[in-house]
Symmetry: C2
Subunit: 109 residues, 2 copies
């Protein structure tokens, strides 16, 4: 247990950063352009860009630039990012089974 | 996705509260008395007590009082708490496979 905990905390810290879960959900559906993600998610372009930079730094998201005109920039999950799928699925299932609408409302008050 | 996200965020918020993961790890091993948990975990009694209250409020931890002398108080996971086991296992596995010792050290600086 002692050995795993710092890693667990690091993983939890990352996953619990606001909007990171949502961004990962979105990228699990496939490669996306920045503008597509901006349309999918209820956050500002600036915040999205910040989070994508963080996830790129952590090796979870890959950024590909295609030298077309206008330049095309696409984001996708790396292997490390894709390996988060079961984690996200488990949290999603647990939340669905165990957290009621009321609890969610309470929290947002 | 939209429907699940507030629940996902609520679950993540809970799991990422500092020391909550560690306390859940400890209680997955079985029912514990407060003093046992205090000995197992590297946190103060006050912090442990705070987190246990939070987890009780969320219906994840159960507190049983036995009217002996001295009073015996035991903590265990509720069904809802126990259902977190696969979530914790998945995060643990992912962290073990994907987060290096170096990354953990970097973070603690």
């Amino acid at each position: 247990m002692e050995k795993l905990c710092p890693r667990f905390e690091k993983a939890m810290g990352l996953l619990s950063t606001r909007w990171v879960g949502l961004i990962l959900f979105d990228l699990l559906k496939g490669t996306k352009r920045f503008s597509e993600m901006e349309a999918d998610l209820p956050i500002s372009g600036r915040l999205l860009s910040d989070r994508l930079k963080l996830l790129e730094k952590e090796g979870i998201v890959e950024r590909n630039i295609y030298s077309e005109f206008p330049v095309r920039i696409e984001y996708s999950l790396s292997d490390k990012g894709r390996s988060l799928e079961p984690v996200i699925k488990e949290i999603q299932c647990w939340a669905e089974d165990n957290i009621s609408e009321e609890e969610v409302k309470e929290q947002s008050v």
